[in-house]
Symmetry: C2
Subunit: 199 residues, 2 copies
Amino acid sequence: MSFSPLIRQLIDALRILPGVGQKTAQRMALQLLERDRSGGLRLAQALTRAMEGVGHCKQCHTLSEDELCPQCADPRRDDSLLCVVQGPMDVFAVEQTGFRGRYFVLKGHLSPLDGLGPEAIGIPDLMARIDQGGFSEVILATNPTVEGEATAHYIAQLLMPKGLVVSRIAHGVPLGGELDLVDGGTLAHALAGRKPIHL
Amino acid sequence: MSFSPLIRQLIDALRILPGVGQKTAQRMALQLLERDRSGGLRLAQALTRAMEGVGHCKQCHTLSEDELCPQCADPRRDDSLLCVVQGPMDVFAVEQTGFRGRYFVLKGHLSPLDGLGPEAIGIPDLMARIDQGGFSEVILATNPTVEGEATAHYIAQLLMPKGLVVSRIAHGVPLGGELDLVDGGTLAHALAGRKPIHL
């Protein structure tokens, strides 16, 4: 036993957070109870509001409580560029690079074995969005995994007849780190994608 | 911007959890929103109930929403043994060992530089508890740190005149691991506290 029921329930509830096991949940629960009860109440309120209020942007399908997310609502962005990503977290990652076009957020990647076909991940909605907007280039920024590549390939095939530029983010060695720590597949891509140096 | 206001507020609120930085908070918020909204609402409810409902056990001062915590309320425990610890988490740790005496939970350790004297950490309440109960032994299980040792020493001095057995948990090498990885101070304690082997 050792913890009273309310504390046990809080510890159990905290374990739904990704990466939080029994020990971490205990530390979180006791720290909030001992040091920051008002912070704990603020967190409860933020959770309730977000879980009940957040839906999906009707244009790019990212998570948003408004009809249009901040990216879709912004009139100053480049309407000729569309970046296709696998999830809302990827929008954040691409935003950090300074990209200022539009987005479309898929529901993950194609996974026929799990029953996730084109409809399940929202590819028909992507096609409708592309047909309606005046994009000149679609950048496929799905993950550099087997599933992400397959998803990009599938979308590229659908887009080919439309006469758009369809591009895929570059594969190669990441900045920083050392060459002998890079895996062979990545290095092969980096060699194949080499570029002449213009001084 | 990239996240809508409710999501940003949730990410900020999650950062009050110990060990949760910006990136982890983002992952937690999006995972709850995408995969487990009912879990998120349960967590909000558990937080509200615990933050508003949990107080302190009137006998041992650990966190509890009832007047007496599960340990103090249990009539089958050994009333002659009192274990003094620095916080509610330590009660859980000592319980795991199978200890079935009573507890008293201090509010941390003595720290004169931070203005935490005997009153601030609850030593007068500990003395009152000892005077009222029929304990034959008091086990000082404060942390094996400089501050924890000082706190144990201070309490031991107060208890000496009362004719009780006052003991301190043993210092020595922890189980598992290798001797050459143990620090010198611990090894010195382990040598000084050596015991004859009886076969």
